[in-house]
Symmetry: C2
Subunit: 214 residues, 2 copies
DNA sequence: GAAAAATCGTACTGTAGAGTACGAAAATGC
DNA sequence: GCATTTTCGTACTCTACAGTACGATTTTTC
C-alpha cells in the first residue's frame, strides 16, 4: 500500500522508458531534419544513441512510425507558442509586430527550415503527414490571427474583408523576403535585426493594404 | 560533297540521339517530379522507356547527372516565359495582373508544385541545385519585376522603395492563398477562376500598399 | 550490302540499409 | 538475492537498387 504515485503503478521503469523514448526522438529528429527521410538510417540512429538496434525497434517498430512520431513532436513545438494576446486596443501594430517576429524567427530557424523541407519533400510519399502538418502549424496560426482580424474589422480598425485571407496575406508578407532563399539554401539564416526589420515592414505594408477607407 | 547540313557533319544519327535524350528526360522528369529523388529508380526509368539499362547509362552516366539534367530542363521552362511587356503607361494594374496570373498558374500546376517540392526536399543533399533553381526561376522573375518597378517608382506611379523588395512582396501576395496548402498536399490544384481571382486580389493589395503618398 | 554505331536483353556484382534473432549483460522490482 | 524486464552486441537475412558486362540485334551511313 505504499504506492507513491496513484497514476503509475510501477515508478522507476516507466520514467526511464519515457526518457529513452525522448532521447531516441531527439536523435531521430536531428537526423530527419538534417538529412531528410531517405538520408536517415535506422542503424545510424542506433549508432548515435550508443544503443543497439533491437532496443530501437522495441520502441518504434518501423522507420515510418518513428518518422511519424518525430513529425508529431516537431510540429507540437510550433503549435504551442503562437498564442499572443492581441488586446482590442486601437493600435494593433505592436502586437502584430510581435507575432510576426516570432513567426519569422521560427520559420527562418534551422529547425523551421528543416521541417518545411522535410514535410514538403515527403508530402507525396506521406500524404497524411502533409495534412497533419498544415493543420497543426500554419493553419492554427492563421486561425488565431483571423479571429483577431474579425474583431478588428468589426470595429473599423481594418477594412472589411475575409479575415482568414487577411491572415494569409500577413503571414505571406512576413516570409516574402527570405523564405524562398532559405528553403533553397541560398540564404543560411537571418540575424535578429533582419527578423525585426522584416516583421516591421510586413506589418507596415499589411496595415496600409488593409487600412479602412476614410 | 553532298553534305546537307554544314553544322552537323552526320545528319540522321545526331537527330535521333537528341530525340532519345529528350525522351529519357521526359520520363525521368515525370518520375522525379512525381516521386522525388529517392523514390525514382534508374531501372524504372529504363523500364518505362522500353529500352535497356546500358542505353540509359550511355546517355547519363549516373543518377545524379540525370537528375541535374532534368532540373536544368525543368527550370528552363520556367525562365523562358515570364517576359511580359510592361509598358510605362500610367495604369500598370492590367499588366501586373497578367504576370501574376501566369505566375500563380505555373506555381500551382502539378509541374510547379512537384518542382518546388523536389528542389526544397533535396536542397540539403544537392546545395548547388538549390542555388541554380533559385537563380534561374524565382530570382529571374523578381529581377524583371524589379526593373519595371524601378521606373514606376521614378515616375511616381509607385511609392519609392527598394524595387527588388517590392517584387518579393508582390510575388508573395500571389502565392499567399494557396502555396502552402499546395505544397503540403492539402490542396490539389487551382481552377482558372481561382487563379484569376487570386492574381486580381494580389495586385489590388500590392498597389494599395505601394500607393504613392498624396 | 558491308562496316560502324547504337540499342537491346539479360544476367551479374556490390552495396546499403531495413528489419530479425538470440544469447549475454545490466538494470529494476520486491 | 532472485526473478523479470530491458538493453547490448553482434551476426544474420532479405530486398532494392546503382552500376557493369557482354553477346545478340537493329539501325544508320556510305
Amino acid at each position: 500500500m505504499q504506492c507513491s504515485s496513484p497514476t503509475k503503478p510501477t515508478g522507476r521503469r516507466e520514467a526511464r522508458k519515457e526518457e529513452r523514448r525522448d532521447a531516441i526522438l531527439d536523435v531521430a529528429a536531428q537526423s530527419f531534419l538534417e538529412h531528410g527521410y531517405a538520408g536517415t538510417t535506422m542503424s545510424g540512429i542506433a549508432g548515435t544513441l550508443g544503443g543497439s538496434k533491437g532496443t530501437l525497434w522495441s520502441y518504434f517498430p518501423s522507420k515510418e512510425l518513428l518518422f511519424a512520431a518525430v513529425l508529431d513532436r516537431a510540429t507540437r513545438a510550433f503549435r504551442e507558442e503562437i498564442e499572443v494576446t492581441l488586446n482590442e486596443s486601437e493600435d494593433i501594430a505592436p502586437a502584430l509586430r510581435t507575432i510576426c517576429e516570432s513567426l519569422i524567427g521560427k520559420m527562418s530557424s534551422p529547425h523551421g527550415v528543416g521541417l518545411h523541407r522535410l514535410v514538403m519533400g515527403e508530402a507525396k510519399r506521406f500524404p497524411e503527414m502533409g495534412r497533419i502538418f498544415y493543420e497543426s502549424a500554419p493553419e492554427r496560426t492563421l486561425k488565431i490571427l483571423a479571429a483577431h482580424f474579425e474583431k478588428a474589422m468589426a470595429s473599423g480598425i481594418l477594412a472589411p474583408a475575409d479575415p482568414f485571407h487577411a491572415a494569409q496575406y500577413l503571414t505571406s508578407l512576413c516570409t516574402a523576403r527570405s523564405h524562398m532563399r532559405l528553403l533553397t539554401g541560398v540564404l543560411d539564416g537571418l540575424s535578429p535585426d533582419e527578423v525585426r526589420e522584416q516583421a516591421h515592414r510586413a506589418v507596415e505594408l499589411f496595415l496600409r493594404a488593409f487600412a479602412p477607407a476614410d
